[in-house]
């Protein structure tokens, strides 16, 4: 069951995603936080901006539904934040509940990998020296 799938500027909270997937059948809840780090490629990062295409939330929902439909997955909750983020802020929050832990680890990892590949969201890094770049953009 997909219980949460959102793209917004709201501050993200892992505990809230874990609570959202809580279920009496769930023996395992695996969560993931994608966090803004202070370095990339050896350079010091001070700030990040995430921009989403208008379809980003629909794509997030589509990917999360695929994971939620797997037979051993009980519940999925996932959100991506966009806008200006600081070091330490959560950009991607996900939680997956299953009966047993191996399935939860695998489903959460697959969810994050699929989102990395398919979610139309972009990231601009501002470095300590004032330069900036759109990540992955040639």
């Amino acid at each position: 069951m997909l219980v949460m799938a959102a793209v917004s500027t709201a501050v993200l909270d892992i505990a809230g995603h874990e609570r959202a997937v809580a279920d009496p059948r769930a023996g395992a809840v695996v969560s993931f936080a994608g966090v803004v780090r202070d370095h990339d490629g050896g350079r010091s990062v001070t700030r990040l901006q995430y921009e989403g295409h208008p379809t980003a939330e629909a794509v997030l929902r589509e990917v999360a539904e695929e994971i939620a439909k797997q037979p051993d997955v009980i519940a999925v909750a996932v959100s991506h934040r966009i806008g200006e983020l600081d070091v330490g802020d959560i950009a991607l929050a996900a939680a997956v509940a299953t009966a047993h832990r191996a399935a939860a680890f695998a489903a959460c990892a697959r969810l994050v990998d699929e989102l990395k590949a398919r979610l139309p969201i972009w990231k601009r890094q501002v470095f300590a020296d004032g330069t900036e770049e759109w990540v992955n953009c040639p």
């Binding site: 994050v112 398919r118 139309p120 972009w122 990231k123 990540v135």
Partner: protein
């Protein structure tokens, strides 16, 4: 006339968020037109970008784009 919308690094390379282009171009002709308008940096981004035409993925480089279409230029994603 078709409208092109540039996102993220494509917008940075184009210097505009959107613009109109002549009707009847193929995707390959559109890319060449945009690169000649805005420079080789945008040309490089277009080489790595994905395209949506009226919200649907569009891979065909040789069929004319629909009249009045909205073409979204999506550089490589970097979410998470």
């Amino acid at each position: 006339m078709p409208t092109v919308r540039f996102f993220a690094g494509a917008r940075a390379a184009a210097g505009v968020a959107e613009e109109q282009v002549p009707p009847g171009l193929t995707l390959a002709e559109l890319a060449a037109t945009l690169a000649s308008r805005h420079g080789e940096r945008l040309g490089t981004v277009l080489g790595a970008a994905a395209f949506l035409v009226d919200g649907q993925a569009w891979h065909d480089r040789h069929t004319p784009l629909p009249a009045g279409a909205t073409i979204d230029v999506l550089p490589p994603f970097a979410g998470g």
